[in-house]
């Protein structure tokens, strides 16, 4: 019975990783850059909800809307101000370092505004816990909502990318930026849209993360951000279904590793699995093997 409970917790944690990993992987697929500030956008989403719900006492639904709007705008502003001017820089490292800089900027700005004290986040989920098997199996409302949101987001995103014009444009840009431009696709607009969607997802991830683990600090997003990055690489960076599979697998491995191997070594196990997967499949589980044309 506890195995099932661990598994459900793993899927729940993995769903959060998957939602964050989607942001990483979409941005990588389209802009060919690693947006290290993504984890901190999660934190901004968490603080937006905290401010609306706990500080002003407004209804959670308003908090969700505000957080999504704030993060979407933030993502687009970061892209426009920090990344776009460097898109054609000589070294791809320039934009990577800028991303790290933006990450610190966001953390320190939050430190300045909200202070470093840990805030206890009031859960925005009002779904009652599910009790199964005579109370032996207790699934919290947050877990249920997290898993369901994860599934809904994945379905919507897949439909969006495959069935809409904007989604097709994204695929085209990720395939070949130059050719896409020649076909009349607005590359800059598409990249901005990608950042907007990725950041909106980060806001959702932030809310789910803080509801399940109710503590909020300016560094809340850092570790989940790194884990989600691992999940994205694990599943094959650039691939949307890969990010989902990678995220959920990572969550399950982490929780089961903690439960059956060692609670101290959980992170070490996660990264060891990553190394093994990359040794066997260097492009990740669903990564495409792109051949360099000479």
């Amino acid at each position: 019975m506890s195995f099932i409970s661990y598994l459900i917790n793993g899927v729940s944690l993995g769903s959060v990783y998957a939602i964050i990993a989607l942001g990483y992987t979409m941005v990588y697929g389209i802009a060919k850059m690693l947006n290290f500030a993504h984890g901190d956008v999660i934190m901004v989403g968490g603080f937006a909800v905290f401010t609306i719900v706990s500080t002003y006492g407004l209804p959670p639904i308003l908090g969700i809307v505000v957080a999504v709007v704030v993060c979407t705008i933030l993502g687009m502003v970061i892209e426009r101000v920090a990344y776009k001017p460097l898109r054609n820089a000589a070294s791809p490292l320039a934009v990577l370092i800028t991303a790290i800089g933006v990450s610190y900027l966001l953390q320190n700005a939050a430190l300045l505004i909200f202070g470093a004290n840990t805030k206890s986040f009031t859960s925005i989920v009002s779904v009652p816990p599910l009790k199964l098997a005579e109370g032996k199996l207790n699934i919290s409302g947050e877990t249920i909502v997290t898993i369901i949101s994860g599934i809904i987001i994945m379905i919507c995103l897949t439909l969006f990318v495959n069935k809409t014009k904007a989604g097709q444009a994204m695929l085209a840009v990720s395939e070949d930026k130059g050719a896409a431009q020649l076909m009349g696709i607005n590359v800059n607009g598409t990249i901005a849209l990608t950042f907007a969607i990725g950041s909106a997802l980060a806001a959702v991830a932030g809310m789910l993360l803080c509801s399940a683990y109710p503590s909020l600090t300016p560094y809340t997003g850092a570790m989940p951000g790194i884990k989600a990055f691992v999940a994205a690489v694990f599943g094959g960076i650039g691939s949307i279904p890969g990010a989902m599979i990678g995220g959920i697998l990572l969550g399950i491995i982490e929780i089961l590793g903690k439960a059956y191997i060692s609670s101290q070594m959980a992170d070490a196990i996660v990264f060891a699995v990553l190394i093994i997967v990359l040794l066997v499949r260097p492009t990740g589980i669903l990564g495409k093997n792109i051949q360099e044309k000479v």
């Binding site: 905290f50 570790m223 903690k258």
Partner: protein, 426 residues
């Protein structure tokens, strides 16, 4: 266009750098409380460029009242280091406030041998590196004795520096063994082994539970130190440790597995030798798991009621071993709690009591050793080392406290229980 891009990136880069500096400056500044007038007599290493931006000027009035004494006996510069922001801010603020309270009281009643105390507190955010920086800042200011640091990791780091400088150090609450490994360092609180052993004995002797689970932070010296001694002492006690699970600094938000294991093992009591931030998460996750054992902790749990936005009803019934309960009936505690409440609008915790005792211990030892303000730091330290082992202090955290040369205090632990949202003596 290229030029334009360059300008933007330069501006952005400098904005980021500026933001970083603002962050640092603010956190360091908010912790310090400048103590108004300084006596010109003998401030050996006072840097003229010292610039304190902190607005709160708590004891200017007291200094002004006793201005005459200041000029006559000189001033002793007492420094304090601790986290006034960050995850352990409750401790640092308590130590800062209570030390200031004790200093003001002593100054108002004529000081130490006629000398006034000047007190300055620096923030270290519970980070060992920042703690050493804070110590260096205080040294530049001319500090002669140190009350600090507040948390174990920081105290150990600072102890290396004070031993090098031969500066007298009294930590109110640095509990790990290494905090007092040099002979210039003393402490007011119990050591970690002492807390681990006392917790095990307390649970055993009072037959609180027979099956016990432990959740501890293996990456933290305080937590793992207590756990090891607790586990060793448990062998001699009538209870059994049925589950011992760890977490680390990098994975301290998800405790579902540790709690599930404790629940499955049938533990009636969960021992939490950890700090209150993680404990508050454990309590809320246990409640979603429908698991309601007795939670038992050490002084690290003190402060759990102050976590911003925390549902304190979750902490109902939590027990902790601490030498101080704010509702104790003795005269000293009552006066202290009343004065603290009046000044800071909050009920003092054990850390505040430790700090208050620390300042009075320094006073007692200074009087015993005949310290004068013009002694250099090293000579002062030598005199204090001897005097600390000779004093007996009736303080908030123990009656008839004495110290031995190892730096450890001798006093009895007490347990408190959270009921109705306050700490009550058991």
């Amino acid at each position: 266009m290229k030029k334009y891009n360059k300008i933007i990136s330069t501006v952005l880069a400098s904005a980021m750098v500026a933001a970083l500096f603002t962050g640092c400056g603010n956190s360091a500044g908010s912790g310090s409380s400048d103590s108004g007038s300084t006596a010109p007599a003998d401030n050996t290493a006072d840097t003229p460029s010292e610039d304190n931006t902190a607005a709160e000027d708590t004891n200017t009035a007291d200094n002004a009242d006793t201005g005459a004494d200041t000029a006559a006996g000189g001033t002793i510069k007492l420094g304090g280091v601790g986290p006034t922001t960050g995850g352990a801010a409750v401790y640092g603020l308590a130590v800062q406030n209570a030390s200031q309270l004790a200093v003001d009281e002593i100054n108002a009643s004529g000081g130490i041998n006629g000398m006034q105390i000047e007190f300055k507190f620096e923030d270290d955010e519970c980070d060992a590196e920042k703690s050493v920086n804070a110590y260096n800042t205080l040294k530049d200011w001319g500090m002669q004795m140190l009350v600090g640091s507040v948390t174990s990791g920081c105290s150990v780091a600072v102890a290396e520096k004070t031993a090098e400088d031969n500066m007298f150090q009294l930590t109110p609450s640095g509990s790990s063994v290494d905090c007092v490994k040099y002979d210039n360092a003393f402490r007011v609180c119990f050591s970690d082994p002492n807390q681990g052993m006392a917790s095990a004995k307390y649970i055993g002797e009072n037959a609180i539970a027979s099956q016990i689970a432990v959740i501890y932070d293996s990456s933290d010296i305080y937590s793992s130190g207590i756990y090891e001694k607790f586990a060793a002492e448990a062998e001699n006690q009538p209870f059994e440790i049925v589950s011992a699970e760890a977490f680390t600094a990098d994975s301290k938000t998800d405790f579902s597995v540790q709690l599930q294991k404790a629940k499955d093992s049938g533990a009636e009591l969960v021992f939490l030798p950890i700090y209150y931030t993680e404990a508050s998460l454990i309590l809320s996750q246990a409640s979603t798991l429908d698991y309601a054992p007795i939670f038992f902790g050490c002084d690290g749990l003190d402060g759990i009621l102050n976590v911003e936005n925390f549902d304190t009803s979750l902490a109902e019934g939590v027990m902790l071993l601490t030498p101080f309960a704010a509702d104790a009936e003795d005269e000293l505690t009552k006066n202290f709690v009343a004065a603290y409440k009046e000044k800071y609008g909050d009920t003092p915790n054990q850390f505040a009591a430790d700090a208050y005792d620390a300042v009075y211990a320094i006073k007692a030892a200074c009087e015993k050793a005949g310290i004068t303000a013009d002694m250099d730091v090293s000579a002062m330290c030598e005199a204090m080392k001897g005097a600390m082992t000779e004093i007996t202090l009736d303080g908030l955290t123990g009656v008839g406290m004495t110290w031995d040369a190892s730096g450890e205090p001798n006093k009895e632990p007490k347990a408190v229980k959270i009921s109705g949202g306050v700490y009550t003596a058991m």
